[in-house]
């Protein structure tokens, strides 16, 4: 039942066991020896491999178990590899190809002097050989763009150089743009700015969210970071007052305040009119000195009107 693997170790008598141990020992020894003598065995005149084969034959006749057979196949494998190497080393050609002689003949072909001493390097005409060689090769024609590629990411080498160039160029390109677009920007921006100021006032005086019932004028328009912006804020606010959208008046403390005008500036509301009915005019002067004073006086740290810097320089 359990003796199905061939002769199995089950019913092996002690002599059989000793035999297989001995076999394995021999095989291992043979394998080791063959490996050791490797370089010697592959020499063309050596017959060592034949002897190995003979010994293997002798041993194999004693093999009973698969285990020893495995050893045998290992040795056989190694022997056959070495045999192949030996065959390669055998020079069966009548005319042996000697690399060095080949090289010397090449030197002659390329019009070089045959070197006398070892130190001298021959002067060779490589292009002569190159022309001859070119007839053997069949290559594709390499494409090239006359002015260079417009956009080619696949050449990674140029990326580093191009990055440096790219950084320099946009500054020139950008300089051209403002000349063209400035006019348009100026026309639109005033309206936009006015809207922005209006929005700011709305936000600040919003009964739910806002912080003020009426916004103090000077604090509202002053931008502590920029004097021109302060002037602009006044300018935009004046538009709003002109259109009657906001009211500018003196409050109880006699400080000017700004507030959304619900009636749109009409004392007697006239439907359809967008202009304030009773316009009164005020001239407000502003200098840098005054601006600084305002900042100090009211401790203005942040502009109430949010502005987005459009003047990128």
């Amino acid at each position: 039942m359990s003796q199905s693997n061939g002769n199995g170790a089950e019913d092996a008598s002690s002599s059989d066991q000793a035999d297989s141990t001995d076999l394995r020992f021999r095989y291992r020894k043979l394998l080791f020896q063959t490996k050791e003598k490797r370089s010697e065995l592959v020499r063309p005149e050596s017959t060592g491999l034949l002897e190995t084969l003979e010994e293997m034959n002798v041993l194999f006749s004693r093999v009973k178990n698969p285990r020893e057979a495995v050893y045998d196949s290992n040795v056989l494998k190694l022997t056959s590899e070495l045999g192949l190497e030996q065959a390669d080393n055998l020079q069966t050609n009548m005319t042996v190809f000697d690399r060095n002689i080949f090289a010397e003949k090449l030197v002659t072909f390329m019009d070089g002097r045959c070197r006398g001493s070892q130190r001298e390097k021959p002067e060779l005409d490589w292009s002569k050989l190159g022309k001859y060689a070119a007839t053997m090769f069949n290559v594709t024609a390499k494409l090239d763009l006359i002015y260079g590629p417009l956009a080619m990411e696949s050449i990674a080498k140029h990326r580093a150089a191009r990055e440096r160039n790219v950084q320099r160029k946009p500054t020139e390109a950008e300089k051209k743009k403002p000349q063209q677009l400035q006019q348009e920007e100026q026309e639109e921006s005033t309206t936009k700015e006015v809207q922005r100021v209006l929005k700011a006032i709305h936000k600040l005086t919003d009964p739910d969210q806002g912080t003020y019932k009426h916004v103090p004028f000077f604090e509202f328009i002053t931008d502590p970071t920029s004097f021109p912006t302060t002037i602009e804020n006044m300018f935009h606010l004046s538009f709003l007052v002109k259109d009657g959208k906001v009211k500018l008046y003196l409050d109880d403390d006699n400080t000017p305040v700004v507030k959304i005008d619900v009636n749109n500036g009409a004392v007697t509301s006239t439907p359809g009119s967008t202009r304030a009915v009773n316009p009164s005019q005020v001239v407000i002067s502003m200098t840098i000195q005054k601006w600084n004073d305002l900042i100090d006086e009211f401790n203005i740290t942040k502009a109430m009107i949010p502005n987005i810097k459009r003047r990128g320089k």
Binding site: F102, G130, N138, L143, S154
Partner: protein, 259 residues
Amino acid sequence: MSQNKRAKTNGGLDDAQPSTSSSNTSQSTPDARALARSEQAKAQLSATDVKKLEVELARFLLFADKKNIPTKKQDIVKHVLKEHSRLLPSVLEGARKYLKQTFDYSVCEVEYNKNKYYILRNNIVLPELQQLTRPAHALSQLALLTIILSMIHMANNALDEADLWETLKILGIDKSETHVDFGEADKLLNEFVKQMYIEKHKLTTSKGLVTQLRWGMRAYHEVKMSDILLFVASIYDVDASVWKKQFSSHDGAMETPSL
């Protein structure tokens, strides 16, 4: 049909056989399935979009060929196809057609180190033209390449790098010095490896650990072994039939000794 059974260190060769045309990829089932899948995905795009991708791929392959370095499959997906990576098989077929009809170039798929590469192969054989279209410095490099390939061939496609340098000394090329025409010869050799003209393999033989040089896939496509043999014979001033082994095995299989 696979005559080129090379040693296992080289990876499988699917279609990169020198003598057969390499225009059909769908020989094995996984490729056929990939093609079917990409045909499906193709149907989802408009015809103009697909055509645009094909044209772009053809251009990409052409320009990438400029440096003679094979194009990686991943690069194609990354730069040309981007999100349409599944379309690769069918777009590649389209690009193949363009290149074949316009230039008579074949796109050959080459596998090396488990990566897939593509090279372009010129089907028009005009030796006279080849002589004319090379710049001067390329000629000398080509000469060196030819010499190296010849030596590898005569060594049955298994040349030790050490032996190579020994022989090159006679030609005035020293590994450690800078050459007048070639610069650093070692770098040039690596350049050839990069372009897939030569392959380097590290092996253990009876001489210990060596670097073995073999013909690269591009060499098989661009030059015939028989031509190289004739070249060697003419330099050696001997009839080529003398070297029986090389004479009978050109354009066929070269068994590399598996060590």
